[in-house]
Subunit: 95 residues, 5 copies
């Protein structure tokens, strides 16, 4: 999974019918220090994430293993909201 | 999913029979500011996208989850046409 | 899919039995201007492509959706030979 | 698979129910010389790896082939703890 | 598939039970000129490749399509040993 920060939303009314009812979030990748890497992805939200929250993104076929995304043309999903992480016992992020 | 801009079309008459009837679009990747990143992909169109439109691209096995692309050797599909996106409440793009 | 140019062939007699009878082509990636990007891939040929031809490559599990490659340990397939492409109505390549 | 070093843990209480009970580890990629490459991934631990250990990471759909991760939205798994590796008969790492 | 050169072996006794009996090889990526690119991967050996041999690597779900790797958390497999390749009719490598 990748660490990311939710920064915005994408609206698309004309889409594959399978995608109806799903919410597209714009997520910037972050590194273990919490800094943005410059990368980004548009991910379906499966956990009710809001702007500014740090999240975990699963990609590829694994992005279709949530109830929300099963059998849909979705290749990236927010499947967790991050509370905290530590490196070597030192907190790098705490919500 | 990736943000992209449809810039052209690719014609291929000699192809795997499974791909008959599908339309190949040339799509340039764009970043959250709407700028081209330099990357590109050839994607099957599942939503009737036209030149100049901003779209969402799903890749990998997820690209085979639309009715148009099921069980076909297709690894990238346009599965939505973007109306708008915002970052931090500020519109970055509106059609 | 990726645009590529067939530049050579790879011979491998000792291989997984599932790969018997398949032809490995050496393909260089090209960009929408027709220039080589520096990247390359070894792909199974599913359409009878020859040296110098421009082709479309599908990768990942989608590379196993042709009759030639089904259930085989193949992660890249030539599934179309490109006749032409255009950007903004201007031909960038015509065979 | 990729070589990695476990450097920390990620806590996420709000997540897809399928991910309950799984442990997220922060893993930095390392190269064959044992140096960190700058890349990282958040992986589910399927083998009881601890901080500082060198591990193998499987990604994509293969990350769902352990008992712990089956049918879950998980795209990276620690599936082995590395004891040693050698290049040209010379030990590069020994636990 | 990717061209690679087998340079070493990785030993891991503590691993997912599904991986028992499989051999992990350290493989450096090479380009069509036969030069190392700087990239590498740890791949399961399905064809009895030895150190110094040039091989083809399949990745992703395709890495699970050999008898040795079926249903295992393996995302890279050596599925062929390269005898030779040519570019434009000129041999670039011959074993």
């Amino acid at each position: 999974m990748n660490l990311g920060k939710v920064v915005g939303t994408v609206v698309a009314t004309r889409k594959d019918p399978c995608m109806d009812g799903l919410k597209f979030m714009l997520v910037r990748h972050i590194d273990p220090e919490g800094k943005e890497t410059g990368g980004h992805v548009v991910a379906v939200d499966a956990v009710g994430a809001g702007p500014g929250e740090l999240v975990l993104i699963a990609t590829g076929s694994s992005a279709r293993q949530t109830i929300a995304t099963q059998n849909r043309p979705c290749d990236a999903v927010i499947m967790a909201i991050v509370d905290s992480w530590e490196i070597g016992g030192v907190d790098k992020y705490r919500k």
